[in-house]
């Protein structure tokens, strides 16, 4: 375990601000061409909750890494395109990154839709791709060149259902959008419910650009016996769902959201409608509430501090996904001794006990995400703050 290895742990605690030693070593070879990291993210559009902090995190940390001497003796160069969360643009930018910018590695795809659209292009071009998308489908079945950092939708549902079971709920309703992540998440909910003694009595879909979820929520309200609602989704639609939920006075029915809402922006924009909602999130969002001996505490604290100081805004789990992707990539490039695509891919797959802000990553040929439920925390929103439950 790295956690028990003090020297390695210390290095990781410093975050991606790569070892100064490497910088000293690399000084002599600074003239070498930079290692190119490409990225397409939903910086604008309905999924900008995700893409914006992701892009900011990547820019911030690539700068820091470069100031500290780069990776494997070479500087990093970041190319970011704004896909606006649109799958079509994601494909086009993936092609551009590969053929025109000739990047060595891609981090990106804020959403499942973008990632799955770009997946065939990346697989064919054979270069490592670390996705920031939530759904299981990204890494299941395993695709040779594709990895991901966030917890999966299945894990979110498992965590939610465990909690629901503890509260002795029997009947739940599911609500979500038509996008790839939402679809996958709802399918998981229907599939996993019986294992937790639950029954999905209502399964409602809203449209991608809907500005009103009242009809769906009303149908859930009029379904007899609903004890809890599970929301699948991210970005603007989740905010609208939360607001409508409050407007309809449905707070007597507990609401769970998946980790796609993991940012302060969600709470703020929902204008108080999120009180009492429970959400499983990555540790980074509740970094200050982690136990003192939690192995993730140092790196999480460091990331929160660095990001907040640089941008003067609260952190989100999404920026954390990007941070981890960059960490996994740079560690793999270091071990591979350079940006050779096949070697870096193999090294990413060998990532073991790497402490990130999302959790502790141990990847394998059959697991291209490498997280387990330990690092997934159940939170409740109280007084507009994320409060760690367990």
């Amino acid at each position: 375990m790295t956690a028990r290895n003090p020297s390695r742990r210390l290095a990781l605690c410093l975050g991606v601000a790569t070892a100064v030693m490497l910088g000293a070593l690399g000084g002599a070879q600074a003239q070498q061409a930079p290692i190119k990291i490409g990225s397409f993210l939903a910086v604008t559009g309905p999924a900008s909750f995700l893409g914006d902090p992701e892009a900011k995190t990547l820019k911030l940390y690539v700068d820091r890494i470069n100031k500290a001497g780069g990776v494997a003796g070479r500087q990093l160069q970041l190319v970011v395109y704004d896909s606006a969360g649109d799958a079509k643009q994601a494909v086009s930018f993936a092609k551009r990154l590969i053929d025109e910018d000739k990047v060595d590695l891609i981090i990106g795809g804020s959403t499942t839709g973008e990632t799955m659209a770009a997946a065939p292009v990346v697989q064919e071009a054979e270069l490592p791709f670390i996705s920031l998308a939530g759904a299981n489908v990204v890494v299941e079945p395993v695709k040779k060149w594709i990895f991901k950092t966030p917890h999966s939708d299945r894990m979110a549902i498992e965590k939610i259902f465990e909690d629901a079971q503890k509260r002795e709920f029997k009947k739940v309703a599911v609500i979500g959008g038509p996008g790839g992540f939402d679809q996958s998440c709802r399918a998981e909910a229907v599939k996993l419910a019986p294992r937790y003694g639950l029954e999905v009595v209502a399964n409602e879909t809203y449209g991608a650009n809907d500005t009103e979820m009242t009809p769906q929520l009303t149908r859930i309200r009029s379904t007899p016996g609903v004890q809890a609602i599970v929301g699948c989704g991210f970005g603007a639609p989740t905010v609208i769902t939360a607001r409508n939920y409050k407007q309809l006075g449905m707070q007597n029915i507990p609401f769970y959201f998946n980790h796609g809402v993991g940012s302060d922006q969600f709470i703020k924009q929902s204008e108080g409608a999120t009180e009492g909602m429970r959400v499983p999130v990555a540790a980074v969002l509740v970094g200050d509430q982690l136990k003192a001996d939690d192995p993730q505490r140092p790196i999480v604290t460091d990331y929160r501090k660095t990001y907040t100081e640089a941008y003067n805004e609260p952190i989100s789990t999404f920026g954390g996904h990007a941070f981890d992707a960059l960490l996994i990539a740079t560690e793999a490039i270091k071990r591979a001794g350079g940006p050779d695509k096949a070697k870096v891919r193999d090294e990413i797959e060998k990532t073991k006990d790497l402490i990130g802000v999302d959790g502790i990553f141990t990847m394998s040929a059959t697991d291209h995400m490498g997280l387990d439920l330990r690092s997934f925390k159940m939170t409740e929103i109280k007084d507009g703050k994320w409060v760690l439950l367990y």
Binding site: D86, K88, E100, G207, A208
Partner: protein, 314 residues
């Protein structure tokens, strides 16, 4: 132009030369990919120009036909494992039938009402593609398999460049032929005055329907090719903005000018890519270029520039 035959076929020859010579200056696959997108947009615009430029009918729902073709290919090849070319043909025929069915009631309308009706049609198609997830995969789109010709897999951007280029030349040739045929003259007569056309014995309803169906079928074929070339399609292809984009291409390039439609399509496909480096300013720069073109070259690029050159020669 001095010699009308030269004007008619000269342009086509220029097009063929450009298509044949372009690969000499395309540095990598990414540029081929943009060239393919340009060609497919140009294909749709040549068809749309017959309707807007020559027949004088507006369509704000043309992206729907493009998407119908594309989704026919996508759904038939993935879910029902049809041969790609068969799916393309089926998509074109089906879209033609849909266009025929909507043409009869819609084309009785004029001006704003016609625009509204085509707009509504486009939105309906877009809604269906977005919401019928079991069939279309929803807003995140659907992955389309590679087109196969016998044992050959039509996959690389270079291959698709030649397919699109060839299709564009053929469709342009057919469009030019049509415009200069008796039917073409009938179509153009509609633009001038429907009443006058009717007095001359032209079956207005039939002619309008024919142009509408023809442009829809061309759009559907382009859509099918797009789905296979990109191996991915989303409902955005049917969206309102996409329809507006297509009309803008035709208007920008120059209405009632086949080559204008091609130039407009090329410009509006390449510019956003060229401007991607401007980040936030991209939309402002693009907007400024469009506004500037419409103010200084109100008839569209090709006709305005053509007039300018003729005046300068004199």
């Amino acid at each position: 132009m001095a010699n009308p035959a030269l004007g008619r076929w000269g342009g086509l020859i220029v097009l063929i030369v450009v298509v044949a010579a372009l690969p000499l200056v395309l540095p990598n696959k990414f540029y081929y990919d943009i060239a393919v997108k340009t060609g497919l947009n140009a294909l749709v615009c040549v068809g749309l120009n017959l309707l807007i430029g020559y027949a004088g009918q507006i369509s704000l729902g043309h992206a729907a036909f493009f998407a119908l073709g594309g989704y026919a290919s996508a759904v038939l090849t993935t879910r029902y494992e049809w041969n790609g070319f068969l799916a393309l043909g089926a998509g074109a025929v089906a879209t033609g039938i849909v266009a025929y069915l909507v043409a009869r009631p819609i084309l009785r309308l004029k001006g704003h009402y016609l625009a509204m009706a085509t707009l509504a049609f486009g939105i309906i198609v877009s809604l269906v593609l977005n919401r019928e997830i079991w069939l279309t995969g929803g807003p995140d789109g659907i992955t389309v398999p590679t087109l196969r010709l016998g044992d050959m897999r039509l996959r690389s951007a270079e291959t698709w460049y030649w397919i699109t280029g060839g299709a564009l030349v053929v469709v342009t040739y057919l469009a030019l032929n049509l415009i200069h045929s008796p039917s073409g003259r009938a179509i153009r007569a509609l633009h001038g005055s429907e009443v006058a056309a009717e007095t001359l014995g032209i079956d207005v309803a039939r002619t309008k329907t024919m142009v509408f169906v023809l442009s829809a079928v061309i759009a559907a074929i382009a859509g099918s090719l797009f789905a296979h070339a990109d191996r991915f399609i989303t409902p955005n292809e049917a969206g309102f903005l996409r329809s507006v984009e297509l009309v803008t291409m035709v208007v920008l390039g120059g209405m009632a000018s086949t080559f204008g439609a091609i130039v407009g399509a090329a410009l509006l496909t390449v510019l956003p890519q060229a401007l991607a480096g401007f980040d936030e300013f991209k939309h402002i720069v693009l907007g400024a270029i469009l506004v500037g073109t419409m103010i200084f070259l109100p008839k569209g690029l090709v006709p305005s520039l053509g007039a300018l050159i003729r005046r300068w020669r004199r």
